[in-house]
């Protein structure tokens, strides 16, 4: 679908996110904290027919009290043009550390959700997604 011009543009500058640029984005967002697996549940369909709108839910196990709550949740991807997807900030007023949105996926890839807790610890979950119709790079239809 993408024309030669699009391909060249990608080839001549590092436009696509890679696992490395994703790691950079993760460090920019959370600093040097160690990320442990667990406590986070990232819910994405394993096979996506249309990468333009993929329902995505993140839920984090947390009592959401003033002393023990989730401060922020970030979603990252490896192969979209940019590694960031969304970053949310919340606090004890949320009651429940969960949210849903719809995201774009440009290719089959691993999507990662990271939660920052009030005690400074970070927890994550990964989901591998297969995308049959990619988003972001297709040509305009009009």
């Amino acid at each position: 679908m993408a024309g030669g011009g699009v391909f060249l543009r990608i080839a001549t500058r590092p436009a696509l996110a890679t696992p490395e640029t994703m790691q950079e984005a993760v460090r920019t967002a959370i600093g040097e904290a160690t990320v442990k697996k667990g406590r986070v549940k990232l819910d994405l369909p394993p096979i996506v027919e249309n990468g333009n709108s993929v329902p995505c839910t993140v839920a984090v196990e947390s009592p959401m009290t003033a002393t023990d709550h989730v401060k922020a949740i970030h979603i990252f991807n490896e192969k979209n043009p940019q590694p960031n997807v969304i970053s949310i900030k919340l606090g004890p007023r949320a009651g429940r550390a969960a949210f849903t949105t719809r995201i774009r996926l440009a290719d089959s890839q691993t999507v990662t959700a990271i939660a920052e807790m009030s005690d400074g610890s970070c927890w994550s979950d990964d989901v591998d997604v297969i995308v049959t119709l990619a988003a972001c790079l297709e040509e305009s239809l009009h």
């Binding site: 993408a2 024309g3 011009g5 699009v6 436009a15 333009n52 709108s53 993929v54 991807n77 979209n80 043009p81 940019q82 960031n84 997807v85 969304i86 970053s87 949310i88 900030k89 919340l90 606090g91 007023r93 949320a94 009651g95 429940r96 969960a98 949210f99 849903t100 949105t101 719809r102 995201i103 774009r104 996926l105 988003a135 972001c136 790079l137 297709e138 040509e139 305009s140 009009h142």
Partner: protein, 106 residues
């Protein structure tokens, strides 16, 4: 400006965790697509979403081009008191749209 849809329960019990759903019509143009002229279509996205409950911020999101067109966000908050829940979306040009919903808490 853009059309926004919000769902907030009209009433809740004090301390109850309520779900809020929001959707705003917006192209969320990534800036990575090529138009019919062969030129890239300029980036045009909503970057910030903020929800305040009687003036106090309860939820904030920073959106990137990887958020689908017509951004939908649902999240939770605790119904603490009667009042107004306000939502604001700000695009990359600084234009802000605000919408509010009233909630009754028993």
């Amino acid at each position: 400006m853009a059309r926004a849809l919000i769902h907030v329960p009209p009433s809740a019990k004090r301390g109850e965790v309520i779900e809020i759903k929001t959707l705003i019509s917006h192209v969320m143009e990534t800036g990575y697509r090529i138009g019919v002229t062969g030129q890239p279509i300029p980036r045009d996205i909503i970057e910030d979403f903020v929800c305040t409950y009687n003036g106090e911020e309860v939820f904030r999101a920073k959106l990137y081009p990887a958020i689908a067109a017509n951004p939908f966000i649902s999240f939770f908050t605790i119904a603490t008191e009667r009042g107004t829940i306000a939502f604001s979306w700000t695009d990359q040009h600084g234009a802000t749209q605000v919408q509010t919903a009233a909630i009754t808490v028993e």
